[in-house]
């Protein structure tokens, strides 16, 4: 177990160091986030639909597509000089390689979300502070499932010619359950309805995380080896 965590940490630290030096994906994700929020903000008619009704969907569209930019890079950077072969040549457990990639992606997506959330509150004038605790919990739960599945799909897409196009095609169908649940819970939170009303959606999010994290760990080796 210690060996597994040590290798996972080495992979995550390497990916984050590379991203910190280039900042390519992070800056792209932030620019994308700001643009999406600005466009939705100016495109909506506040007299027709209230911000509170529109905001949950926009928040999760933004998180999903901004996060995908990071997921694309997760294995994209292993294509450089065929570094992926270097990982596969090593005796490191494939589970450790997967967990390392997941960890780096969680940090990446989490950082994007941490910047996007205040921007979202600013653009849509939605009071997030009173519901910040439950909102962060929902974001964390949805992000874990999103990143777990996205990392696996990124490893499948990396060896295809159009990896950047393939990832959304592979990933989006799997994101319907957690994103729907996250939107529903967020809508309830923004309209100040009791948290107990969304316990079913919350269970769905937790169940999705448990099932898909386990399944992705199980399937990673067969997707990454030739």
């Amino acid at each position: 177990m210690g060996e597994l965590l040590r290798v996972a940490w080495a992979v995550a630290a390497k990916d984050l160091r590379l991203e910190f030096r280039s900042r390519t994906a992070f800056v792209s994700a932030l620019v994308f986030t700001a643009l999406v929020l600005a466009i939705f903000n100016f495109a909506r008619d506040p007299t027709a639909v209230s911000a509170v009704d529109l905001a949950p969907g926009i928040l999760w569209i933004t998180f999903t597509f901004a996060g995908m930019l990071g997921l694309n890079r997760a294995f994209g950077l292993e294509r450089e000089n065929r570094a992926l072969d270097g990982l596969l040549l090593s005796p490191a457990s494939r589970t450790a390689l997967y967990l390392g990639k997941v960890l780096a992606n969680l940090v990446f997506v989490g950082a994007v979300e941490a910047i996007a959330l205040p921007l979202f509150a600013l653009f849509f004038n939605v009071p997030i502070l009173p519901v910040l605790g439950p909102l962060v919990l929902v974001i964390a739960l949805a992000t874990v499932g999103f990143v777990a599945v996205g990392t696996l799909m990124s490893s499948m897409a990396v060896n295809t010619r159009l990896a950047e196009l393939m990832l959304p095609v592979l990933l989006l169908p799997f994101l319907v359950p957690p994103v729907t649940a996250a939107v529903q819970i967020t809508a309830h939170l923004f309209s100040s309805r009791p948290f107990s009303e969304v316990s079913g959606w919350l269970r769905l999010l937790v169940g999705y995380d448990v099932i898909f994290v386990a399944a992705c760990i199980l399937f990673f080796e067969s997707t990454i080896e030739e």
């Binding site: 080495a10 950077l77 000089n81 065929r82 072969d85 270097g86 040549l89 090593s90 080896e225 030739e226």
Partner: protein
Amino acid sequence: MNAPFPSPAAPALAVRAVHRSFGHVRALRGIDFRLDEGDSLAIFGPNGAGKTTLLRVLAGLLRPQQGEVLLDGAPPGRTDAAHRRRVGLIAHYSLLYDGLTAAENLSFYASLYGIADRRAAVGRALEGVGLAGRADDLVGTFSRGMVQRMAIARALLHEPRVVLLDEPFSGLDQRAAAGLRSLLMRLRAERRTMVLVTHNIDEGLELATHAAIQVAGCFASFGPVNGDLAAYRARYAEATAVRG
């Protein structure tokens, strides 16, 4: 995981009737050979003969569709990690990250191989390829020859018993090539098993104990090096003319 204790009778590397295809292209068609500890094999052949595919199969990056590769008598599978620990590959590509420094790249690989004293291992590896002075420079700023030296340092970092080399001299200047030649001679003296793919017959025969000519996925010839360069050149010309 520790490598299983090798059987004293087992060859260091045994390849049995290995086949590998990509769609309709049959890249390897029944490759068969064995090398004992300390043997080194030079493989010559025209482009498209399947030499790189063979090295990738030996390294465990590709699985043979038929046949098997045994290291010290053990097939890969449950012992995959032990198999990988014993093999080092110098490939066409460096397998390095341009955005990391030389030391960071090697330190990362040392973590993957579970090397205990990473700093010392990285220092030795960089010293061995003459890049100790560039440890803190990004690999992306290196020349082609320096990248190739880094690739050699990466492949030998974990001191593999079987070293696979795919055109290792490409991109090296004369001085670096001489350095690599003496490094390979040292590995031979340390009784490591080597498989070297090269187009340079002189160089290959100088470094190897055995030589093979690979044409269209098969070995057209395999045997110990006898030092008769002219005869070997003639055999190579004949094999590639007939079967190429």
